[in-house]
């Protein structure tokens, strides 16, 4: 059992023993870049028994959601303890036991806006990897201008009747449930008529159609709702609306902030914790003899290191009371940097990098995938708009 003793060094020792006991060596031997992510969910096919066991062990102790309260399936760790846990995972080259939109997005939104009963019901399903969620925000006519969503939920007395379609829904074809922005009041101003609704993907009338990306993968879908019945009170007596009716925009915005910090911060990709220099030397030591490539690599490294310090500084600031709209800066800077990083890697690998499955593995796919970083979760232009209006207070007229 995992002993969450308060003393940091004792905690470090405990947590590393626990990782070593439950995360099989076979999982830890896999390089970060080649790891298959454990997403969980009803239909998930585990890459190995070891991956399954590691998720189970984490689910039992709440370590799949280290910071969430114990009563909601988390481990109740402090920020400092979570940091130690992440450091030990990295040191032991252990993958995170579970990743999901539930952990990243819905959970934080529920913790902030859900009722106690909603949290008790939905959060442990997420931490145990039982239910996989997807995010139903964007629509064909509502991208950057997200508040113009048209998918509507009509009040039919004891239930909602949902009609409309979503687009770019990542993993909708693999997800069990969707958290969606739906219009519940068509008369109200656009930000005031939206609700944040939880919908079962198995419900009658929900269909998905995968969309193929430029990288060849099809991780996202169109999602259609045709006369989908969503009970106002479900069999367990819970409301399917998170937060207040018609106030879903507040929930959506809160969640987007989380998403942006994550997209901006998580972007290290293939490099993992290695320095760019070490990475390039492994690829081809001679490549840096090209002065133009070398100059690009140097500039990128300066910007990467300075940006990493910014992530750290913003984390420190968040501890002291939040960074507000300035988080849009992390999203903007982090994603633009990641795109540059992959452009450089493509230049460095030359013709070897051009094959879908060549000497550099999935590099080409990853390169193409990074192009979405500055689109998903709000485009770079939208981030700059937020900074200009909300942080710099520039006028709109």
């Amino acid at each position: 059992m995992l002993d969450l003793s308060d003393d940091p060094e004792a905690f470090r020792a405990n947590v590393s023993t626990w990782i070593e006991a439950h995360c099989a060596e076979s999982l830890r031997a896999i390089p970060q870049a080649e790891r298959e992510i454990c997403w969980g969910g009803k239909g998930f096919t585990f890459a190995s028994q070891a991956q399954h066991d590691w998720m189970k062990a984490a689910a039992e102790t709440g370590m799949s959601a280290p910071r969430w309260p114990v009563e909601y399936g988390g481990a109740g760790l402090s920020r400092a303890q979570e940091k130690i846990y992440r450091e030990e995972l990295a040191r032991l080259n252990a993958p995170t036991p579970l990743e999901s939109f539930g952990l990243w997005m819905l959970g934080p939104a529920l913790l902030q806006f859900g009722t106690h009963e909603q949290k008790l019901h939905y959060l442990p399903q997420i931490t145990r990897g039982e239910i996989r969620w997807c995010q139903g925000y964007s629509e064909p006519g509502a991208g950057s201008d997200l508040a113009s969503v048209q998918t509507r939920a009509e009040d039919m007395g004891d239930h909602w009747l949902v009609n409309g379609s979503k687009i770019w829904t990542s993993y909708a074809d693999k997800a069990d449930w969707i958290f969606a922005l739906v219009r519940t009041d068509r008369e109200a101003p656009k930000h005031r008529g939206i609700s944040f609704m939880l919908i079962d993907m198995e419900a009658e009338g929900v269909t998905t159609r995968p969309i193929r990306l430029i990288s060849g993968a099809s991780p996202f879908c169109e999602t259609f709702f045709e006369n989908v019945v969503v009970p106002k009170e479900d069999p367990v007596g819970l409301s399917r609306i998170v937060g207040e009716l018609n106030r879903g925009w507040d929930v959506a915005k809160h969640l987007l902030t989380h998403e942006r910090e994550m997209i901006g911060g998580g972007a290290q990709g293939l490099l993992g914790s290695r320095s760019l220099g070490a990475f390039l030397a492994d690829l081809d030591p001679e490549v840096l003899e090209d002065p133009v490539l070398k100059t690009r690599a140097m500039a990128l490294e300066i910007d990467s290191l300075a940006t990493a310090m910014t992530l750290e500084r913003y984390k420190d600031m968040a501890k002291q009371g939040g960074v507000g709209h300035a988080s849009a800066m992390l999203k903007y800077a982090g994603t633009e940097l990641n795109k540059r990083r992959y452009e450089l890697l493509m230049s460095v690998t030359g013709s070897d990098g051009l094959e879908w499955d060549g000497p550099h593995g999935t590099l080409a796919q990853e390169w193409l995938r990074t192009k979405a970083n500055s689109i998903e979760g709000g485009t770079s232009e939208v981030m700059l708009d937020i900074l200009a209006k909300r942080v710099l207070d520039l006028p709109s007229q």
């Binding site: 981030m383 900074l387 710099l392």
Partner: protein
Amino acid sequence: MTLSLVPSEDETMLRDAARSFLAEASPVSSLRRNRDRGIPYDTELWSQMAQLGWTGVLLPEEAGGSDMGHRAAGILAEEMGEVLAASPFLSTAVIAATALRQAGSDRLSQIAEGAVTYALAIDEKAKFSPRASALQAVRQGNSYRLSGRKCFVADGSSAKRLLVLARTSGRAGEAEGLTLFDIDAARAGVTPQRSNTVDSRDHATLIFEDVEATGADILGDIDNGMAAIHTALNAGQASMAAELLGLTSGAFSMTAGYLRERKQFGRTIGSFQALQHRAAHLWAQIEITASAVANAGRVLDESPDEADLAVSVAKAHATQTAQLAVREGVQMHGGIGMTDEFDMGFYMKRARVGAEWLGDYGYHAARVAAARGI
């Protein structure tokens, strides 16, 4: 790293105090006045800085300092940059204080009191390269004779004392064989020629003709001057990065203010998205520079022997952001930005000098590359 990247309460108090003092005592208009009179800096301002304890920020309490550390020194430099306050702070209270403290010199209290100012004589060519020093220090009996030329010496015509990196053995280009001397600027054979640089500050070329120095003038070990000056240079570079950060934010607040106020086509120009996005991008760069600068100070305080990477990231990033801020600053002000009457030009000119001093972008990028195996 145990220190947070967010300033402590003491540091915030120091910043607030520095900001209100400098707004009063050294607004940009005083730089203009000094320039018009040909004065490199206000000696009165310098003695006030000393009274406030700024000259002792990196010195131990026994010597009359406050020992607040490099991050605090950076905060002061940043605030000076914001209003372009000119003083020998970097040369004296940062570089000389660090080098003299490391060498165990007995002049520390003179620096803390503000009784002495220093200049670092290191460059000999148009680009910063300490190891390229060729100025000879030839041994004669118990003394040395210094002959040669140093250029781009900040505070070089006004400083009372000089730190001179001279060659006691080996050849220009070699890191070994250099020795760091601490001599009186009035010593026979030293001739300063003030250069008329774009930032209107005191930069000078110093001619050394058979200048006498003794073993007592040496800081650190003979032939090992690079070790004696290494941390002091890092400290100076980090503080210069901080000054550039302050300068950037000073220029940026003028620009952002203008965007909110100037009207064309019946609208405020700050409502044009083309300008909004450029301003927001610039602001993002300033935030990133601020992080790199805070980190450089932190590393110098916590593990000064491993500071090269953090310092060079800060100086390189600050240089780029400052250049962007002043270019955008002039452009977004239109015609008025080009006039001498308007202050933006002062920011642009100081940014150019700050970009070169103690190593330009390329110098620091090369140090980053060396540290990261690129």
